[in-house]
């Protein structure tokens, strides 16, 4: 990466340079070379102490240091400046005699960026100054870009948090339908491709879903927004009481929106508290687990076309009993596919065992905590995919 000539000339004009030098003749000579090359914003210090103060107050873009400064000499000054992380990237050019090898080495040891040879060769001197200034500009641009990007990403992340259920709504649904809803959500990048949610349909029916968009990071996150918006549109017209028809509609829209190779997996269920059952439809998800009140575990099939792949895909509807005391556990594939300390995937089998050996957990939240405990014992530090787990318990 380089800056254009015009841009550089413009920036050289505003670049602030501190010349710390006790010899007046050298000060005048250096400033006349710089001025002749369009670098006019110069400040001076004649001793080390003043130089240090001006560094703090003026924050120059580059420093040219003489070695024989009074109060604090040039090398000590350089070492002191480098102790402050704020000045890590500040170019410091130290003037040394070409013939003094020891002095040259010492300058680098205390953190000089480069050396200016005495006697001064104006063309070489200006070439070095320009090179270090340009590097400085580029570093600063990059740092600013990074800051701006992070701020925007954080904002986007907050927006994404808003499409996840809020505690207050969860409390309301829990009371309304006699449920306990427990959730774990962790993204592997700053933004994720997973999301989950619930929606009241009628006094006895509540929809719930878990969705995983291809990949992770920003492109996946953008697709979560798309899906969320389409689901809102569908729900606005009428709540679909048929889970398969719901997926069919959603799939059709997503086929038009997603680019080739992108898709989402989804489990969509409707809890029916009047008839003690869940009707559901799946689009290529992990197998949800039903844990009955008496501790019996059953895995449901997550088989179905991925959303956004085949326009005429047909989805099927299934039913499973869901009585008081029963639980349904939904999870994204990161849970079972995450490679742990043994180099193996956590796996569906280990999940089944974790659930089976913790059927005494006092509620869904406790069961979730125990599953996570087992998962965390197996996992390495960083996830490679977004992880979502939801447990719905009928009270």
């Amino acid at each position: 990466m380089r800056l254009s000539g015009d841009e550089l000339a413009r920036r050289f004009k505003t670049a602030k340079i501190l010349i710390a030098e006790d010899d007046e003749f050298i000060r005048v000579m250096l400033s006349s070379i710089l001025s002749a090359n369009g670098i006019n914003n110069l400040i001076f210090a004649t001793d080390g102490y003043t130089a240090l103060r001006k560094l703090e107050s003026e924050e120059p873009d580059l420093v040219i240091l003489g070695i024989m400064l009074k109060v604090i000499d040039g090398l000590d000054l350089c070492a002191q400046v480098r102790l402050n992380p704020k000045f890590n990237d500040l170019p410091i050019l130290v003037q040394t005699a070409l013939t003094n090898a020891e002095e040259r080495l010492a300058a680098f040891e205390v953190g000089a960026t480069d050396l200016v040879n005495k006697p001064i060769n104006p063309r070489e001197f200006i070439a070095r100054i320009k090179l270090h200034l340009e590097n400085r500009f580029l570093m600063r641009d990059m740092e600013q870009y990074r800051h701006g990007m992070l701020a925007e990403l954080n904002q986007a992340r907050q927006m994404q948090d808003m499409i996840l259920p809020k505690n207050i709504n969860i409390d309301h649904l829990e009371k309304k339908y006699g449920l306990k809803i427990s959730a774990y959500f962790e993204t592997c990048d700053i933004m994720g491709g997973d999301f989950w949610g619930t929606k009241p349909i009628s006094d006895s029916l509540m929809g719930f879903y878990i969705i995983d968009c291809t990949g992770h990071g920003i492109s996946a996150a953008l697709n979560t927004f798309r899906i969320h918006a389409i689901m809102n549109d569908i729900d606005e017209v009428e709540h679909d009481l048929d889970a398969a028809r719901y997926l069919t509609r959603l799939n059709k829209k997503l086929c038009e929106l997603f680019s080739p190779g992108q898709f989402a997996t989804m489990f969509y269920g409707i809890i029916d508290i009047e008839n003690d059952k869940i009707s559901y439809s799946a689009a290529a998800t992990t197998s949800p687990a039903i844990l009955s009140k008496d501790g019996e575990l059953k895995l449901l099939s997550g088989e179905g076309y991925q959303l956004g792949v085949k326009k005429k895909a047909h989805f099927t509807i299934e039913e499973v009993p869901f009585k008081r005391g029963d639980k349904i556990i939904l999870y994204s594939d990161a849970l079972i596919e995450n490679i742990g300390i043994d180099g193996q995937m956590y796996g569906e089998q280990r999940l089944v065992e974790a659930v089976k050996s913790n059927t005494d957990a006092k509620d869904g939240g406790a069961l979730l905590a125990r599953i996570m405990h087992d998962f965390n014992r197996h996992r390495k530090n960083k996830l490679t995919d977004d992880l979502t787990i939801n447990i719905y318990t009928r009270l």
Partner: protein
């Protein structure tokens, strides 16, 4: 993922071993480009040695399928094993791809 390709009589056979994930994007891209080439009428993905695919990998296979359809080229997924077989079942790949055991 280790990827080896050989062309024989208009059939491009691509052997894919190991874990096939988002990171293999760059390896897979030239394979996609080959599908559009004249003289290739069939691409066989030999996935007998593939241990794992993430969603991005499944996405790349779907991309290959689209690309093949456009170029009247056929695609075969050959010998899926273990976990991959299960993934293909769950995602209905058996109904979307020509899969040889």
């Amino acid at each position: 993922m280790q990827c080896k390709a050989k062309l024989n009589n208009g059939v491009l056979e691509v052997q894919m071993a190991g874990r096939f994930t988002f990171n293999d994007n760059n390896i897979f891209r030239p394979v996609l480009d080959n599908i559009a080439k004249e003289g290739i009428r069939c691409v066989v993905f030999d996935i007998g040695q593939t241990e794992y695919m993430d969603s991005a990998a499944l996405g790349m296979l779907l991309l290959a399928r689209d690309e093949a359809e456009r170029n009247s080229c056929s695609i075969v997924l050959k010998s899926p094993q273990g976990y991959i077989k299960k993934l293909f079942t769950v995602s209905k790949f058996y109904e979307m791809f020509n899969i040889e055991e």
